[in-house]
Assembly symmetry: D2
Homo-oligomer: 269 residues x 4
């Protein structure tokens, strides 16, 4: 049984313009957000009547190997209590416009849990979420444009995340994300995407941090149908299996080895 937690920003879909949200909006953009969010809410609900992340959750729940918990930004401690994280094997993260609403304390709780072994799958606009940026150490910047056709190419055909996935997957509409993508060299560049507007993007990348495995995956613009695409869903499902912990690190001390191994070595008989 793999315990999957889906973390969802949930601002656009719920339409919640809390004072905390408004306080973190960059200067001069508040009016824009006030107009854009209700529109955005409508579009997401049209595209995902069950909800964006709930569509993914529903799919994952059909897999008897997965036990899925859904949490979001508006819950106490952003839904990410120590207790829940300790019971999470793989954490999925979708976020977009409220990265700064996650307190550093919570973000570092996630970082530490990944270092201890928890798998982490940041999706789409999570490329600038705090856990992503804090784990990778880069800015996560990229180019973007709404409404392109996207073709995802497999660049690492023997990687377990590609199991059962055709050589290329067409996404009828996705947000374009373009290079240069400011990330550390991936352990493995699993997917590279082609966009009809003329850009390319390393859209599926893996890293390890401590005992934990990370897979960033580009698809998932909130008003695009990507989470209805069976290949996208299968890739996420493969990534969960791949990212589950081999072991959990309990202790992050730097031990003082007062007695050296050499002083303990017995002379050969």
């Amino acid at each position: 049984m793999i315990r999957v937690t889906i973390w969802y920003e949930y601002v656009q879909e719920s339409g919640q313009m809390t004072p905390e949200f408004e306080a973190q909006v960059p200067e001069g953009q508040l009016e824009g957000f006030r107009q854009w969010i209700p529109e955005s809410t409508k579009k997401i609900r049209r595209q995902y009547p069950d909800g964006l992340m709930e569509t993914l959750a529903k799919y994952l729940r059909k897999d008897p190997e997965f036990e899925v918990t859904s949490v979001n930004l508006f819950m106490p401690e952003c839904g990410l209590t120590e207790e829940l994280l300790e019971k999470t094997d793989v954490l999925i993260w979708w976020a977009h416009i409220a990265h700064r609403m996650v307190p550093d304390e919570i973000a570092y709780r996630v970082v530490r849990r990944v270092q201890a072994g928890m798998g982490f799958i940041p999706l789409h606009s999570a490329h600038q979420s705090k856990p992503f940026v804090y784990l990778l150490g880069t800015s996560g910047t990229l180019k973007w444009r709404e409404g392109d056709f996207c073709r995802i190419w497999t660049a690492a055909p023997a990687h377990p995340i590609t199991e059962g996935i055709p050589e290329s997957v067409d996404l009828i509409e996705e947000e374009m994300y373009g290079e240069p993508f400011d990330i550390p060299k991936p352990d493995e560049t699993v997917f590279i995407s082609w966009y009809s507007g003329g850009e390319v993007f390393r859209s599926g990348c893996t890293w390890t941090r401590g005992y934990g495995k990370i897979f960033y995956f580009q698809p998932g613009h909130e008003t695009s149908p990507s989470y209805h695409n069976p290949h996208v869903l299968k890739i996420i499902s493969n990534a969960i299996r791949w990212a589950q912990p081999a072991k959990i690190r309990e202790n992050f001390d730097c031990p003082n080895i007062v007695v050296s191994p050499e002083s303990l070595r017995k002379p050969r008989a």
Copy 2:
């Protein structure tokens, strides 16, 4: 002064169908080659009146820091004598249809010289040349199609090979090379290309082997104008500077350290 040697297969441009060439043509393809090569010769000469590799050589010779030597398959020892390799800092390699005409002995001479520190820049269809395949240990296979528009994107904007190069470079016509490209994980994926037909390709990749640096670069289909493109030429020129040896390894022995460093260590005063 950087000593650059350009190795050129030269079969298509010269139109030389030697018995040795014919002997290595895969079964059933000889008639095809007999018709296609003269056509190919004409097209190359139209696109590159000075010759394909001579166009590149001319450009490089303008750089006072480069000393350029041109050799080809039809010279004794394929033009790659031990003497020349010892005087070569960076070897450029363009090959296409006669990879098997380079004897293993010569190919391994190149391999060993790269391991000793010589830079190596395989271009375009050199992705299946013997030195490329022997140095990387992979098959070098890929997809291809003639006659696409190509846009090269910089994925590593601080890499010295990208110096002075815009974020993207348009090639009005290039042969499409598509993923999956069977290569070991690059040290650095410097460029990723977009093709109008819908594919992507890691078109500029670096590796190291021993003391030597390798840069594979995709552009250079023999009937495409890519070696007239100033950005393509500048990238090759940057790559030569990047790939020049830091030092040369003289000895490939496995020394038997009979007296251990510990037995020689003096007790602290």
Copy 3:
């Protein structure tokens, strides 16, 4: 069921000084070999009454998940027929003084099979075997000295190859292998060894080539008791599980995609 093939050079243990062996001995060393090999045979038999590789095979055969086949240099086609390789999931390779007796044709057969997905575990002095060198593209050179104490440290504690292995493993006597080790940057440096004489060595390293996974592991000097050490045996057993193919590549063509994916894309309804 994982089908494991153990390839063994078997020259020293069998004491077979065939004319083919003598022909490949470096000039001036034949007399030395003639004296040293019978000594070596005796020592191996004393240390490994069941045989060096047969000791490993016996251990592996206890695992109901493994089906083990043993072959050696003196069999037809060096024991490595196309048929056997196609039925091999993971190939273990121990070799020392007769690397050149493996014809290139056989070595490349192994290389191609690894590129197709077969796991490959070169042990100890296989660091200069043809398959190792041809797959990695480096010389494999290192320092050496007989008869040191060796402590293997885990540098990647969450890697599946370290499962059940303590943080450090003491080998009462091993041949010292010392840095610099001429290898391409490993995907993962799983183990680093400490030698009592004062050297260090990246003693457990992974790479991928095509669909195949490679794990080099240092212990296994023919007259040292390392293959009696339960941790060493467990590491090899872990590595077999890790290296088994995810999928097998059947075709190494470079397909000509005459009809581009874009020309086939249907306009959005």
Copy 4:
């Protein structure tokens, strides 16, 4: 001219037990620190009459290519004003017991400047400094013990940081740092150290983050004579040259490419 800034924690050497320092000492350790710091001050001054970092600064100032600025924790903004960072090509960082005294705001200022291109050379106990940990995304944990002999081995002999450095460097006394070292896979493992007590350590490692280059180097225990060792000093000097920025990134936006490159492409004449 390379503008080098040396950042020094300076708590032990100055003996300053400020209230801010005391506030960040882990619970139950204050008394210990109160006794240990004056001892530590004495020992540092005995080993480095000019001061620990001032000894390094003096050496670097002899190089006409370097312009060296020294700052420390007790200066306003920890000495790391935006203005100084903008004029810094390479930042050296020595810290030990007061990592938490650097406010996150300052630490992220450093992180962002590295992402923009500034070189970063964390020394010794900086393995748990905020900039190190925030840039790499791992915990930086390791084993340690005072007072071992250390032998540094070159594992990447053609790397520019090893220029002029012998294959191994003996440090008569250094603090042992031992594996497992919790770091992301280095771009290059330049040095691996051997300790007389029986441990090994990846003691010289490089990474890139954005446009910036990072080199971690182990030697530099405050009461060991390592910064009097000419090879250690030369390695740091080489690393400065290697880490200087190729270019500086000015802008960290995610640009919205409203007009796609394809919509701007002119049809071929």
